[in-house]
């Protein structure tokens, strides 16, 4: 097995991974960086983000307001020291991107333009039409090309972390095109592997979002935090799950039920605002958890529109007019037209909530460090506790930048003075990986079909861990996922070739998703309250006495994981009422 020695390994070349790589290269050109990704960097799912990235820049805005919006939006489950650090770094990072060439939309005077976004009190979302994530990703990728110390390993599938003397010191990875296993030895590892939305059947997430990074850290002993908080985005296309960005509503789109009623007014987000004059933090600009939950209630009441793709509500943008739509929401128009055959200029689009984002992830502190020394994490795979129980739209893209960079700085600090890894000791771990893969290939008693298991997992997650949850359903979910994890040991590989074997990768991804799914279900069952994106029909109130705490889930091999808790850091904003009734009252 070939060994690649380097200083810092980054797993994942999406927004978070690339930002970390650039920060490493800029800060210390002597540090060698290995950037591993299972897809070419520009294919990473950051490219799908549409709406924009939040950072205080305009004179009428303030850090305090961004702080309050984020903490309240997260239903007080955010660590406030982390939020504090984040809001101050956010504008710097967005400006840095501007200096690197990101084509942000502009005001007439040449300054950057901002748009309103759900749950935000002020306009502070920087945007590049409705391809913000795409432009961020490509700007970062292209910028990274000028640094010779960043060695890229594109289409390498990372498998297991290598740990010696209690420190994370590397990772094993398969070169996808040759099928050869490699070991990377380093002094620090940063995981930036992205989310895990593919656990669910209906998701805005790309095929690559299978929680590998989370599972990798989890198996190596680092806890997963707050995994039960899964964000549903209220406006997905009902057939493909493609996202229609929140900017649709930010620009003035409205949500109506089959009777033409703007039903959000009935769920604590009213009173109605005039059509075409969106007001911040109310009605259509309420937070995602609340807006998605309102759909569920409408469904129960029979107020949804029945379409060939299932029960929907309508997103109406006709009043915005063709010019504004083309200028600000061209992608949305194209998507709705191509995949659904609806021209948003002329018709309201049927939509429904769709799994979008994982608030939870690898537990990290504000320095992006995990409890496992030498292991850092950033981006959607990490839970630095910025987003709490519900992420506000447009905070995530900035999180990638802020904590991607932070992870890099922490890693540099960590590697100072560390001796070179003990190759012999790490090889023991690498051999274990080799054995695991070898066993998968040579397994002759495989009985479980990979796509069959995947389907059962996705159905379980949708049925039992959806927008609203119950004890009964969650218990069923926990049992089922546990069973699937046992059955996964007998998963059968049909394709035994070495070259670009996607059957193999899908099987490995399924393993990651099952690990994550177990953490989600177990965490959700244990949290007997309703908070943010975690809503229980049997515990409808928020319970700050018992659950103003982070869920920490620890991997226990094939057994049911261990659940523990960690206190939330509260500095200046005690838990309060989330108010989305605008200025009315």
């Amino acid at each position: 097995m070939e060994t690649i020695s380097t200083d810092v390994v980054i797993i994942g070349a999406g927004g978070a991974g690339l930002r970390a790589a650039i920060a490493l290269a800029e800060t210390d050109p002597r540090v060698r960086v290995a950037l591993i990704s299972k897809v070419y960097p520009m294919r990473s799912h950051t490219c799908a983000a549409e709406g924009g990235a939040a950072g205080v820049i305009k004179p009428d805005d303030s850090f305090d307001m961004h702080f309050d919006d984020t903490v309240g939006g997260g239903d007080w489950l955010s660590d406030q020291d982390c939020v504090e650090y984040f809001i101050h770094e956010a504008p710097k990072e967005l400006l840095q991107l501007e200096h690197w060439g990101c084509p942000w939309n502009r005001e007439a005077d040449g300054s950057v333009a901002v748009r309103p976004f759900g749950g935000m009190k002020k306009k502070r979302t920087w945007f590049a039409a409705d391809k913000s994530g795409f432009h961020i990703l490509h700007t970062l990728f292209q910028t990274s090309l000028q640094f010779p110390t960043i060695a890229r390993y594109d289409e390498y599938y990372a498998l297991d972390l290598l740990v010696d003397e209690g420190r994370c010191q590397g990772v094993t990875a398969l070169e996808m095109r040759s099928g050869e296993l490699r070991q990377f030895h380093a002094k620090a590892v940063i995981i930036a592997g992205g989310g895990a939305g593919r656990m669910f059947p209906f998701s805005t997430n790309g095929a690559i979002k299978t929680g590998d990074g989370m599972a990798m850290a989890y198996r190596a002993g680092a806890p997963l935090k707050d995994m039960e908080f899964v964000q549903y985005h209220p406006t997905g296309l009902p057939n493909t799950g493609s996202l229609l960005t929140e900017a649709c509503r930010g620009e003035g789109g409205i949500l109506v039920n089959k009777n033409g009623r703007r039903y959000l007014a009935d769920y604590g987000m009213g009173p109605e605002t005039p059509v075409g004059q969106p007001q911040l933090k109310t009605m259509e600009l309420g937070p995602r958890d609340r807006v998605s939950q309102a759909y569920w209630h409408e469904l129960q009441k029979g107020n949804t529109v029945t379409t060939q793709w299932g029960e929907c509500v309508l997103l109406d943008m006709r009043h915005l007019g063709e010019k504004k739509i083309n200028e600000r929401l061209p992608l949305v128009r194209e998507l709705a037209d191509a995949y659904l055959g609806v021209d948003i200029v002329k018709e309201a689009v049927p939509i429904r909530p769709v799994v979008h984002y994982m608030m939870g992830g690898i537990s990290t502190n504000t320095a992006a460090a995990t409890p496992l020394p030498g292991l850092f994490a950033a981006g959607e795979c990490a839970c630095v506790s910025l987003n709490g129980a519900n992420r506000l739209g447009s905070n995530s893209l900035v999180e990638l930048l802020v904590f991607g960079r932070r992870a890099a700085l922490s890693a540099i600090e960590h590697v100072q003075g560390l001796p070179a890894p003990n190759a012999a000791a790490l090889k023991v771990g690498a051999d274990a990986t080799a054995k695991r893969i070898g066993e998968l290939f040579s397994r002759s008693d495989g009985t479980e079909s990979m796509s069959g298991l995947r389907k059962e997992m996705q159905e379980t997650m949708e049925k039992n861990v959806g927008i609203y949850r119950t004890e009964e359903g969650l218990q069923e979910g926990v049992n089922k996922i546990h069973e699937l994890r046992q059955r996964y040991r007998r998963v059968k590989l049909t394709d035994k070739s070495s070259v670009f074997n996607t059957d193999l990768f899908q099987a490995l991804e399924l393993g990651s998703m099952l690990d994550c799914a177990e953490a989600v279900t177990v965490g959700a069952l244990a949290r007997k309250e309703s908070r943010g994106a975690h809503q229980r029909l049997d515990y409808v109130e928020r319970d700050d006495k018992n659950f103003l705490r982070h869920t920490m889930v620890y991997h226990q091999g094939l057994d049911v994981p261990r659940v523990d808790y960690l206190d939330v850091v509260i500095t200046k904003s005690p838990p309060g009422v989330r108010d989305y009734s605008g200025d009315h009252k």
Binding site: R177, S497, S498, V499
Partner: protein, 130 residues
Amino acid sequence: MSRKPLVRECPPTTWYFRQPRYLRYMSREITSVFVGAYCVLLVVGLQRLAAGPAAWEAFLLGLRSADSIVFHLLALAATFYHAATWFNATQKAMPIQVGEDFVPGNIISGAHYVAWAVLSVVVLFLAGVF
């Protein structure tokens, strides 16, 4: 390593049969043969003109053959096709931005067509066609 990438060559002499758009491209390029040949005819014409009235008249008379008519038809098609493709391309080579927006391509090309028509009429007029 069992990598053994398969290289599927682009056939150097027959590639243009692969897609209709390649045939369209090749026909555009082929116009150069007729344009070139016609230019040779023009050079010959100049030589005749320089040689005096008799030579010139003989030259004009010489144009009146079946071959010449066929050749003219081809040259006519080639030059028209060339002109159309050329004008359509101008919007690509020289986009014009006014304020934020770009002038729509068909306006740029359209303007070329109009100028072309005017110019042609002027030439015809000067040549005494009407």
